[in-house]
């Protein structure tokens, strides 16, 4: 058996462009997904499906079409009113899951980020590639979710496609911030469980997904305003029901884009710092 032909004169490797590097990281994750999609697909579809059944169908029947419910939803059936918000919520939730333990694993357990950055890929490309992949996966499971919602009769019109994009933006904003945070976590410890307990779960409960936030006491309102999910829910629901107004919608989008930009810059910086020491 011969040793491999190694051209000592000049290596075949070359450094990819900035975008090319991000693309290679996405390709790596796609490769992984093709092998493992069954497990992830089940969990990323099953969970929103359970929410849809429990709240949309079950709780929706309880809410019924009483005058109080009609006042809260503007006369829209509860399931239709809930569906675009569930889309945003499931994007934010899967963003939170994908941006915590898998990131720590990439740095610490499997250390595949170290392997990537030992080649010509930079730390920033690793971080932004991981974030991009989270978005791709989120968009795929969101699209499937739209179909599921439609089957249950929760879709009123084509506006739901815009809701899907709003959900994607929401999920990416959340993912960028949590991914940046995860890049600073050295040990499993309590960091992630605290994050879920004190940030992610309150965010999913008090962002206007299941009931309008104006039903909450006045002093809670400022807490709602800082929640990216609330901004995303407002846009997603406005698009699906056709109830959105220009200025508030632009405001919500500006907040989400702003968070995504800040999050992405932090991801690039913190991945660079963690991988170069």
């Amino acid at each position: 058996m011969a040793a491999p032909t190694v051209s000592v004169a000049r290596s075949t490797g070359r450094a990819p462009t900035a975008l090319g590097g991000v693309g290679r990281v996405v390709e790596h994750h796609w490769r992984w997904y093709r092998r493992n999609w069954r497990a992830t697909a089940v969990s990323s579809i099953l969970q929103p499906l359970l929410f849809l059944l429990a709240f949309g169908v079950g709780f929706g029947a309880l809410v019924g079409s009483g005058p109080q419910a009609a006042a809260a939803t503007g006369g829209t059936p509860y399931l239709v009113w809930l569906a675009p918000a569930l889309l945003a919520m499931s994007a934010a939730q899967s963003a939170a899951f994908d941006s915590t333990y898998p990131i720590l694993s990439g740095f610490k357990w499997q250390r595949i980020y170290l392997a990537m950055s030992a080649g010509p890929i930079t730390g920033a490309q690793v971080g932004l590639g991981v974030l991009t992949w989270t978005g791709v996966k989120m968009f795929g499971s969101g699209a499937v979710y739209v179909v599921v919602i439609a089957i249950f009769g929760g879709v009123q019109g084509p506006g739901i496609v815009v809701s899907l994009l709003a959900a994607l933006l929401t999920g990416l904003a959340v993912a960028s911030l949590i991914t940046a945070f995860a890049a600073t976590v050295e040990n499993e410890g309590n960091a992630f469980s605290a994050l879920f307990r004190f940030v992610v779960i309150p965010m999913t409960l008090f962002s206007g997904t299941f009931f309008p936030v104006d039903r909450l006491p006045e002093w809670v309102q400022p807490v709602v305003w800082v929640s990216p999910l609330w901004h995303g829910t407002e846009v997603a629901r406005g698009a699906a029901l056709g109830t959105w107004r220009l200025l508030p919608t632009l405001g919500h989008l500006a907040v989400l884009v702003g968070l995504l930009v800040v999050g992405s810059v932090l991801v690039a910086r913190l991945f660079t710092r963690r991988l170069a020491r």
Partner: protein
């Protein structure tokens, strides 16, 4: 040495108040296998990470493939191969996928990567396991795969950080064989190890590092010639009748006292043994052997390398 693949002058690395590398000069010539030898914490891995262009240097100058890692990191990394101390394969992908996906990071076309992966599987004797996930492999196989992966871009320089630590003897010998083949192919290699036999097997030239500085430099034979004698007589005594080192000193060029035995450095071990016994000392056991790098290290640092 203007044609050096790696050249360092006054290279330093600090982590906060801790100085891991305290000013070293290194030249690695094309085609040679160069070793960093030293105990854990000597600064070998920190030095390797600076040469691999992943860890920024704290002071001094460093050039790799004629470029500055601080400026051209990605371009240098595109042309080198790295075998890290801890495997960082993607455990959930197959053996073949690990090679193919890694090649893609180096801007290589899919077709090229596919062919290269087949060739490297053969080289690492992993063709039969190509479809298995990495999780299913033994430690030695993972190590071979890591080495194969580092060759996916036909590197001009290969960096191996403790390539055989934790492997059983058979797996080590197989790896050494593979590295020797690469050397014959002309691939320049830099190896860190805390195994003396590994350094003697692999390295044309090496430096002994201790406490972040270079304690000695040369080929294994040169170092042994300079810092040790041709042979070593090892003597163990009953603790009750253990002589002092001073009492043994007049029979050898130099005596090292270890917790469990004495090392007598001498040109002719058998003859020294005869002298010692003739002087009335009765060792429980004795052994005559050739001097090794272990003795050089002991001489330079006063400590054994691996306890």
């Amino acid at each position: 040495m203007s044609d050096a693949l790696v050249q360092a002058r006054g290279l330093r690395k600090s982590f906060g108040a801790v100085e891991a590398v305290r000013g070293i000069d290194v030249d690695v010539a094309p085609g040679e296998v160069f070793g960093f030898l030293g105990p854990n914490g000597a600064g070998k891995s920190s030095t390797m990470r600076m040469i691999a262009c992943v860890s920024p240097r704290s002071a001094g100058t460093l050039s790799v493939l004629g470029m500055d890692p601080g400026v051209d990191g990605p371009r240098i990394r595109a042309r080198i191969g790295v075998v890290p101390q801890l495997d960082n394969l993607d455990a959930e992908l197959s053996v073949r996928e690990n090679l193919e996906i890694y090649g893609r990071y180096f801007g290589l076309p899919r077709r090229h990567v596919k062919e290269k992966a087949a060739e490297l599987l053969e080289f690492a004797q992993l063709t039969e396991r190509a479809g298995d996930t990495v999780e299913e492999l033994s430690g030695g196989m993972k190590r071979r795969l890591t080495i194969a992966r580092s060759l996916v871009n036909d590197p001009e320089l290969l960096l191996l950080d403790e390539p055989t630590t934790g492997l059983d003897p058979q797996a080590r010998h197989l790896l050494w064989d593979r590295l020797y083949r690469l050397k014959r192919e002309g691939v320049t290699q830099i190896v860190t190890t805390h195994y003396m036999d590994e350094a003697e097997q692999l390295c044309d030239r090496l430096v002994v590092m201790d406490g972040g500085v270079i304690a000695a430099e040369g080929s294994p034979a040169e170092l042994i010639g300079r810092y040790s004698t041709r042979e070593v007589l090892e003597l163990r005594f009953d603790p009750e009748h253990r002589p002092t080192a001073e009492a043994l000193e007049r029979h050898a060029e130099r005596v090292e006292e270890l917790p469990d035995r004495f090392l007598l450095y001498t040109v002719d071990g058998e003859r020294t043994h005869g002298d010692v016994v003739g002087a009335g000392f009765v060792p429980l056991s004795s052994l005559v052997r050739r001097s090794s790098l272990e003795d050089v290290f002991l001489r330079l640092t006063g400590r054994t390398l691996v306890d």
